[in-house]
Structure formats: C-alpha cells, structure tokens
C-alpha cells in the first residue's frame, strides 16, 4: 500500500504512466476550472483568478513539461543508465495525481471570500491542509526521478532539488509570459 502511494513507479512507468497521468490531469483541469485553482508553477497552486479554461490547461502543461524537461536533462548528465524520455514524462505525469485533491480543496468558499491582506485562521488551516498533497506530489516526483534515471543517495537528492528549482523558475516565468495573452 505504502509503495503504491509513494512509489508506484516500481510497477508503472513509460506510456502506461503517461496515459494514467494525463487522465488524472484532465480531471484535475476540469475541477480546477470550476474551483478557480491555478497550477501556475512546477509545484505551485493559487486560488481565485477567473480565467478561460485554456489558461488552466496551459498552466498544467507548463508545470508538468518544465519538470520533465529539467529532470531529463539533469538525469542525462548524472546517470550512468540509459534513460528513456517516456519514463520521465510518464512518471512525472503520474506524480501530479495529488493535485486533484488540491483542486477539490479549492472549492472551499472561505478561500474565495478572503480579501488580500486579511488571512483568517480558516484560510491558514486550509492552506496547511493543501500543503499535504503538495508534499505527496514532491515525494512522488522524487521517486519518479530516482526510478526513471536509476540514481541513488546524495546524487539523487542534489540532482532532484536542482531540477525542481530550475523547473519552478522556468514554469513561473513561462506562466507570467502567457497569462497576459490569455486574459485579454
């Protein structure tokens, strides 16, 4: 059970993981559109801004794509194994399953009725609850990186943190570029 929750990549990877991951990403997209939850960064989630569904879709593709790209580049440099791009792409798509929970939590009315600068206790509690699926996703991403690239120990930790930081910068920058174009 623990393995399936945190490292399902022992059993599922490649195209199968990609299809399952995309299926969950599509469900998350629909839910996030109605709950106004934006995944505007590799590991980000922000609530409130009304936007066309195309922006929500692009945000998810950018969030997933930037992690895939940076993890593949880092893994190609530090791994001695023959890495397949489809394994990184598939396992990283499957790693985003916990975002379904974040998009669902986004329906909480208290999150939409809060004025900027006035954070109540309820918002803080929900914010903390939302961190749990994000941590779950990062754990899944780390295990996806380790399994797909056959990297262990300190090398895996340093490589993953580097890839994730670059992915975060890349995804946030891309989102800032596309947002004005789609919100016109």
């Amino acid at each position: 059970m623990k393995t399936w929750l945190f490292n399902p990549f022992i059993y599922i990877a490649g195209l199968k993981a990609l299809l399952i991951g995309f299926m969950f990403m599509t469900i998350t997209l629909v839910i996030s559109y109605y709950s106004k939850t934006h995944f505007d960064g590799a590991i980000d989630a922000h609530i409130g801004l009304k936007a066309p569904i195309s922006l929500y879709a692009l945000e998810q593709i950018i969030a997933w794509g930037s992690v895939v790209l940076t993890c593949f580049i880092v893994a190609s440099v530090i791994s001695k194994s023959a890495i397949r791009f489809i394994d990184i792409a598939g396992t990283m798509a499957l790693s985003r399953v916990p975002m379904l929970l974040v998009a669902t939590i986004g329906f909480m009315p208290v999150l939409h009725n809060t004025k900027p600068g006035q954070l109540g206790n309820a918002v803080l509690v929900i914010g903390l609850i939302m961190i749990i699926p994000v941590i779950w996703m990062i754990t899944l991403m780390f295990n996806a990186f380790k399994t797909s690239a056959n990297i262990k120990g300190t090398k895996a930790i340093v490589g993953f943190i580097t890839a994730l930081l670059v992915a975060e910068i890349l995804s946030v920058s891309l989102n800032q570029m596309i947002r004005p174009l789609l919100l016109k």
Binding site: I10, G14, T147
Partner: protein, 96 residues
C-alpha cells in the same frame, strides 16, 4: 532451506579473502576431483540475481518481456540489470 536456495559462499569467513573450489564430487559414483578452481563470476552473485540473469537470457535479453513476467515497470527492471552489471564489474576488478 532447500539446497538449491543456498548461496555458494565466496568469501572466507576467517580472513575475508576470495574462496576457491578445492574439490568436486560425483553424486553417482562418489569420485572426488581435487584441485584449485576459481568460482565462476556469476556464482558470486546472490541467488535472486542469478535467477534474474537466467530469466533475462531465457527472455532473449528483452527487458520488456522481463518487466511483464515480473510485474514490474521497465525502468525498475533496467535498474536491477544495471545494478547487477555494476556488481559484476566490481567483482571482476577485485579478481584482478
């Protein structure tokens, strides 16, 4: 424990040097051959690693077939193979 599940010891429990085969016996006529024989490099691997190599050869070296048979993902099986390759290379180095 069945005899077939026991790993052939390859390290001396006393001084940690590599062990050699010094006698082989025929289970049919009880003839004993004595001498100094190096352990084959594959015999130094763990039982499950030896089984993995045997299955890998039987599946014509296809990691995809191996993954299906073991119920594991392709990268997991490739990682197992890479770990065995690394172990074999280390064993070869230590032998030299």
């Amino acid at each position: 424990m069945l005899n077939s599940e026991r790993k052939l010891p390859d390290i001396c429990p006393s001084c940690s040097a590599s062990l050699q085969v010094t006698s082989l016996g025929c289970s049919s006529c009880e003839t004993i051959v004595s001498g100094k024989f190096q352990l084959p490099i594959l015999a130094r691997l763990a039982i499950d690693e030896q089984k993995f190599i045997s299955d890998f050869v039987k599946s014509s070296g296809s990691l995809k077939v191996m993954a299906q048979q073991l119920g594991l993902s392709y990268p997991t099986v490739r990682n197992l193979l890479d770990d065995i390759i690394l172990k074999l290379q280390e064993n070869e180095k230590s032998k030299v």
